[in-house]
Symmetry: C2
Subunit: 758 residues, 2 copies
Amino acid sequence: MQPTGKHYVVSRPLYSEDAFDQEHKKTTRTRKTLLDHFKQYFTCDSKRAKNAALSLLPIISWVRIYQVKEWLLNDIVSGVSTGLVAVLQGLAYSLLASIPAWYGLFAAFFPVVVYFFLGTSRHISVGAFPVLSLMVGSVVTRLVPNNNTNITGLEGLTVEEQRAMVSASVTFLMGIFQLGMGVFQVGFIVIYLSDTLVSGFTTAAAVHILVSQLKFVLGLEVAGISGPLSIIYTLEKIFVQIEKTNICDLVTAIVVMVVVFIVKDLNDRYKSKLPVPIPIEVIMTVIACGISYAVNFQEKFGVEVVGKIPSGFEAPMAPNLKIFQMTVMDAFPMAIVGFAVAFSVAKTYAVKHDYLIDGNQELIAFGLSNIFGGAFKSLAASTALSRSAVQESTGGKTQIAGLLSAIIVMIVTLAIGFLLEPLQKSVLGAVVIINLKGMLMQVREVPYLWKKDRPDCVVWVGTCIASILLGLDLGLAVGLGIELLVVVFRTQFPRCSVLANIKGTDIYRDRKDYTSIYEPEGVKIFRIPSPIFFANIEFFRGKLVEAVGFNPLRILRKRNKALRTIKKLLKKGELKVTAKGLLPIGSSPIDESCDERNMEDLDRPSDYSDLPVQVNWNSQLPGNISVPQVPIHSLVLDFAAVSFLDMSAMKGLKAALREFIRVDVNIYIVACDMYVYEKLHGIGFFDDEVQTSMFYLTLHDAMLHILERHPDTTKVDSVHDKVPTDHTFDNLSNGRGSLRSRERRGSHNKEDNPETKF
Amino acid sequence: MQPTGKHYVVSRPLYSEDAFDQEHKKTTRTRKTLLDHFKQYFTCDSKRAKNAALSLLPIISWVRIYQVKEWLLNDIVSGVSTGLVAVLQGLAYSLLASIPAWYGLFAAFFPVVVYFFLGTSRHISVGAFPVLSLMVGSVVTRLVPNNNTNITGLEGLTVEEQRAMVSASVTFLMGIFQLGMGVFQVGFIVIYLSDTLVSGFTTAAAVHILVSQLKFVLGLEVAGISGPLSIIYTLEKIFVQIEKTNICDLVTAIVVMVVVFIVKDLNDRYKSKLPVPIPIEVIMTVIACGISYAVNFQEKFGVEVVGKIPSGFEAPMAPNLKIFQMTVMDAFPMAIVGFAVAFSVAKTYAVKHDYLIDGNQELIAFGLSNIFGGAFKSLAASTALSRSAVQESTGGKTQIAGLLSAIIVMIVTLAIGFLLEPLQKSVLGAVVIINLKGMLMQVREVPYLWKKDRPDCVVWVGTCIASILLGLDLGLAVGLGIELLVVVFRTQFPRCSVLANIKGTDIYRDRKDYTSIYEPEGVKIFRIPSPIFFANIEFFRGKLVEAVGFNPLRILRKRNKALRTIKKLLKKGELKVTAKGLLPIGSSPIDESCDERNMEDLDRPSDYSDLPVQVNWNSQLPGNISVPQVPIHSLVLDFAAVSFLDMSAMKGLKAALREFIRVDVNIYIVACDMYVYEKLHGIGFFDDEVQTSMFYLTLHDAMLHILERHPDTTKVDSVHDKVPTDHTFDNLSNGRGSLRSRERRGSHNKEDNPETKF
């Protein structure tokens, strides 16, 4: 690297946007209209039809390339492991949803079968997801509180049957939403769930889950509460009856939690040495189940157990439309959350194993999975990160593993489910709680975010607190609002700065940052460092007035008032036109008051039509008329960072520019994005006063142009004009030098003044 | 203008961001910390205390400069005119709020008195505002439906008394919100109500007002309905009983509407010739009142009249806390809407008459006005555009006019209110409806916006439809959501483009737009045309991969796999190191399959440590190992428009850059905003792989640097290197030429190669 040997040398014509357009031929690009897009989208030929069919049934693609020898064994091992975990989680998460345990098992069967055919991810394990189960639970307890019924069409059913119906219906509806979003290709909306938002949201969900499992761990009876602040009421109810804690439940839960915690830690620590992680949850559950059966905990200590599991599936049912009406506002966030989580997990594995997943097809797959599952009273399905990790880490290659896990679940459901009957609910609760570790640990992001990026921190904390206090659905909406607001906020109070030339370069930087700067008199360079739109256009106008140091509208009004006075005086003969300008006759003080009518006229461009001479506003005016002087003749706006502007911004900007133009300040807009420039054309930005000729390609182009137009205002560094400054790259003053020397000699080619070293 | 004479000539060292930093001394600026801001904010000295006191009582400032001789007459004329209008509007808008008419009169008295002392605007007329009154009305009808009571603490009161209590309490609460916002200086939040949003919202409000007045015009009895879709239910109820229309009411209303419409049109047309506009509404009301009394409409035709107006004010009351609880969610949007409208009207007049208004002080003024008003059972106060226009256009100079209008209202209330008793409600309804013309006409903006700016149009239509169907409060929230979403959406799918050099300049533009472009081989210039954040970082990464034509992660993995194979083969002795590179021994096909463990290692940087020779990935590899070639050696990212980035964007960008760096593509980031650059430092963007040396000042700096590093890849236009191309400003190839000639001759000063014409 020899930085001294590296030069930046440029010589080209000076370009305004107009001049550049004239010199450089543009290719005519035909932009597609909305209609073209529609046409293209709905055009159909055999190839597209085939592709569409294939993309709707992704199984065809991967079954074709299935390598039976190498993959099948892996898939079987993975399927069995995942199946065992799925049984356990199915039971546990049904507790979150406040429905009988076996409906959780269904969630590990029906949706998986549908996803097997329609899903594009080869590694996720479809089934119950704790956050989603909790959201179902809040609907269930709202619609079917412990005692009384208030849903028409469900009379005569037990509370448990009613709850299962509500859960199934809301799952069905959620499936419809997902399918709809997939069909209308709006899967992109999950983009709005940023990592920060999801992190805050899931942490809040973990808190909710923790609180909801406390009653099982303590063996207490707490009615489900829903709605804002429900978490506080639930905690209150628990603490009120804390002395009723079932010690047997509590001890079992603590033992399970401690053992699982330690073994999981060992699993992590000796990850590389273990062929598969120890399935400690499954082992502990089996042991706890055995002990509970042997000692007969249920009768001896009155613990709550999973209880009767009917062997076999239930007949499908039509969803309840009345429930649909009551749960529309709940099913939509569920559809979003369920899909968003599954998609993000699927994407992680897709990147890792280098295949593509299709967001909209995933929506269709999950939509149909949930519709199918809902019809068979299954709990809402998405994916659980922990279960998917088991499926992938034990070697699963395709959804064959998923299908096998479903078969394991089916076997448990049909044949050996009764073995789980003596299992304590507190064991399931303990397993759920211990799995929250990762989600709760996300809280460590807060100090990190606070240090790095405050607005992001606000999103995290805001979403988390709102979700804890208001409930998950409302909390998600509030979090989304905060997130969007933060984006706007980032551009709302931009750091506007006044730029100055860095001596000897064509570089312009914040004048406050550098010592060796050059600022020609009468020129202000103002940088707009963000897009302009309704939320910051007024702020920007204020900053602009602050930067130039005067309010152009006020000056325009004063000038126009002065003009009226001058014209009146001329009419009366109290002013005389001389070679030097206007001279007052007599010493009578000039009456400056002017009628306040036609106030609007004062904002119009100054009307010089009736005047015999030009008024020079910067010189002394006749009599005691005084108008503040305008200290600048040129204002350069750096538009490089203006990536878009809206109508409010356009109107505000135009008004601001017009005010400056009317007090004879030349405006230059530089480095404007081509699309913004085209857009300005489209929305009627230009007229007689605001013209395209103000656009220049670069700041330096505009600056050179200004210096040429106002050679008298550049007073500094005159030594550079005469003495060749050997190898100091003092180009700007050189630039001025060359411009002046050109004027002096009437020559316009740079070759003619070699002493300026270009 | 002689464009041929204008040259852009620059010669300076080539700058990377690091080199520039070294050469140019930066001033050390101490940025204020949050603490400093707090300190500054809470520092107190006598001057600040005085200023604070003055700003809390703006009346002191303007009373001091009050020019009694010139202003007082104007204020008196204006005050009387405004007072008459205020009486009429007070009566009319109380209909919107579903409360007895005289409480509307109170709104033109109590708040005005407080505002007189505290307000910073000299021209607005404080009092009832139709949209706000309607919002009060929807709360009133929700809490106190026609027949039954359900508010504790209000038992034993008549429906009308209860309604007045609800209206007063919600006004009080709204005042508290406004006062709170003023005290905490968060007045800026009204910025979020963009012109487009307000236009859509007020149009929807006009529709609601129109529908709510139909029953008065038709003389029907329709119970107030609130909540989503209430407008549809109301219309249904009206049309069901349309045959019960009171013809007398309808005819009176139509006559009033036609006359007012015509005279208002004349007022507009002969604006300049009339000293004051004809107060036709007041005239028609007085006439209608007289006729109704003379003919005794009430008994003859059963029309509904204003009825008994108690003369005098009512004793103040403590607001009802129970009502506070039930109306929190309604009072907040009312506080926002009320203030936003008043502030925007006040701002218009402040600009026109060239004085300053203070948003936070206005909030405090309106907050206390409404608290005071609410305590005296007044209707919620803001300002009505039409009434303020009367106050200003009849010559009002200060709030003395406002105070006088309040006195007129007081006189009417105390002394001559009974004269208004025979006034038909249908006349008031007609006056309200005819004043909706302007608001409804805003619908003409829709086609205009659709043509100019689709996203803005979406905001307008979305806000309007949501506000009509869901009600004003929910509609406003939905509109705000849409508006924020649209801002995000504008930057979400930015038009990324690949740039190319415009031949003979240092300008880079979209390669698809220009014909005469220069693109050196192996270099891609990618422009990011918007800020990057969570919603578009993935989109941008996708576009980047699309632009370069390969997926760097995939190539890295293939390379690392190939490396493993090569190392294995070297160990086995099946590969031999020769001068030409690696050569396979024997012709046995090389087994390319490699174990799938340690998948993560494949994403790490290639580990060449054990290899005896360098692997040239772009040449033929030994045996049948094949790795796709990387067609570029340099990737330039134009950051000029990246005005901010958040944590998600930082992480995504870093990951993307690392992938490219690991497959030996040099990354250059150019024209990065200084604050973004500093922020990248702050949030840990840089490490061993992603370094600050990739930042260059301008695109051309980076390009020249690349051309110097890769002289062999620039194959075009070699003729320029030898033959002096007279005066074609082919600077880029010249740039290369100079770089090469420098290398050839070992000379680094531009003076030494005059044939390159710099």
